[in-house]
């Protein structure tokens, strides 16, 4: 960072973790509330929606010219994804009726999350710097990795929760599901009803929170590591130690980026699989 006043590493990190959002600048020393429903993160929404549209556009491109003849490379690539998700969905969700929506959703979620995670591989200062230049505001914040925003990942996992509740009611009926809520997993004795219900609520909560936080945690941590690597390079000087710092930046950045390719793919896959598994559980009685 070669701005007029050099930032301390702490300021650099905090600035990078700031969102472009609708909250007014906070008074000095006051911390943002953990949960604040009045705020919207514009950057997260922009990147998640545009990457979501990019995802469905790509998939649509593959589907538009889909022929049963010899596929081109792009069509084959989309087909491989579809086939992979379709097979997973078949193994997990046994209702073809539900698969009609859930399997395409899982495919979209996989590709979408992959692209959102892949934003992590762009230079960590690149788009934020461009944004600062564009807005002519040296303090403008922009976070490009939508999945490193807890609101986004929890939004998606709550979306899965909503689908779980929907399919619970649809498959088992409101009465059947209510019966299950109170009689599973321990038994149907009236004394056990509160315990069962509590367990079910905890289960739903735990599933949803862990589902969202797993993805968020991985991406947030990955982003932080990129920032630390960037800090290392940013403090280089024309000296032996400084040159080594720059060298270490290149090596560490390369190594972490390559490793991150695995993480972003894996996390996208895990999120997709858990989506299928949780919705599949909604179809099965305890």
């Amino acid at each position: 960072m070669t701005t007029a006043h050099a930032k301390t590493p702490g300021e650099y990190i905090v600035h990078h973790l700031g969102h472009l959002n609708s909250s007014p600048p906070l008074p000095q020393g006051e911390k943002a509330k953990i949960v604040d429903w009045s705020v919207i993160n514009y950057d997260t929404l922009f990147f998640s929606i545009s990457l979501g549209l990019f995802t469905v556009f790509l998939l649509w491109l593959g589907a538009r010219k889909a022929t049963s003849g010899v596929p081109g490379r792009f069509q084959a690539c989309v087909e491989v994804l579809v086939e992979m998700v379709a097979n997973q969905a078949k193994g997990i969700i046994h209702s073809p009726e539900s698969r009609r929506y859930v399997a395409p959703l899982a495919l979209t979620v996989f590709v979408w999350i992959f692209f959102m995670n892949a934003m992590d591989l762009l230079p960590v200062d690149g788009l934020p710097l461009l944004w600062q230049v564009a807005t002519n505001d040296g303090h403008a914040s922009l976070r490009v990795v939508a999945t490193a925003d807890l609101s986004a990942t929890l939004g998606m996992s709550v979306g899965v929760l909503v689908l779980c509740l929907f399919y619970n009611v649809k498959i088992k009926g409101a009465a059947g599901w209510a019966h299950e809520l109170f009689t599973a997993p321990f038994g149907s004795h009236p004394v056990l009803w509160p315990v069962n219900f509590l367990m079910q609520i905890i289960e739903f909560l735990a599933k949803t929170v862990s589902h969202g936080m797993r993805l968020w945690g991985n991406m947030y941590a990955g982003e932080l590591v990129f920032m630390l690597i960037a800090l290392m390079g940013a403090s280089w000087t024309f000296s032996t130690t400084g040159a080594m710092l720059a060298f270490a930046h290149v090596v560490a950045g390369l190594a972490w980026a390559i490793f991150h390719i695995l993480i972003i793919t894996l996390q996208a896959f895990i999120f997709m699989m858990l989506t299928l598994v949780y919705i599949g559980q909604a179809h099965e009685g305890h």
């Binding site: 589907a63 979209t108 807890l150």
Partner: protein
Amino acid sequence: MNINATLFFQIVVFVFLGVFTMKLVWPPIVKALDERAKKIADGLAAADKAKSDLALAEKRAVEELRKARESAGDIRASAERNAGQLAEDARAEAARIVEQARQAAEAEADAAAQRARDELRDQVAMLAIAGAEKILRREINPQVHAELLANLKQELQ
């Protein structure tokens, strides 16, 4: 790491991206995949059928070849037989003709010899008579001794 209203928008985006894929992406691709799977299955079945057909045709060809070879052998054998017969016949005919010619020639030769003998005999008889006439001009009367001369002629035969 704070939670805000972004969450609700994200839910909506999440659900609608799924709907889009369900409507516009999934069906054509799955249809194409199923169709291709069917095509491949059909192709494999056709290939299997063609293979068995080929095996059958090969078997038939071998059978035909064997039959052809057999009948060719038969034909050759019968041709050889015929040729042998013909040669035999020709040889017999030739022998017959030669024999005939030989007999005819012999008969001719016999006849010629006989004729020559007869002529010779006549001439001898005439010479003898002429000689005898010269010797016995007066003593022999041809009319008287005609019987004698005929007898002599008979004996010379």
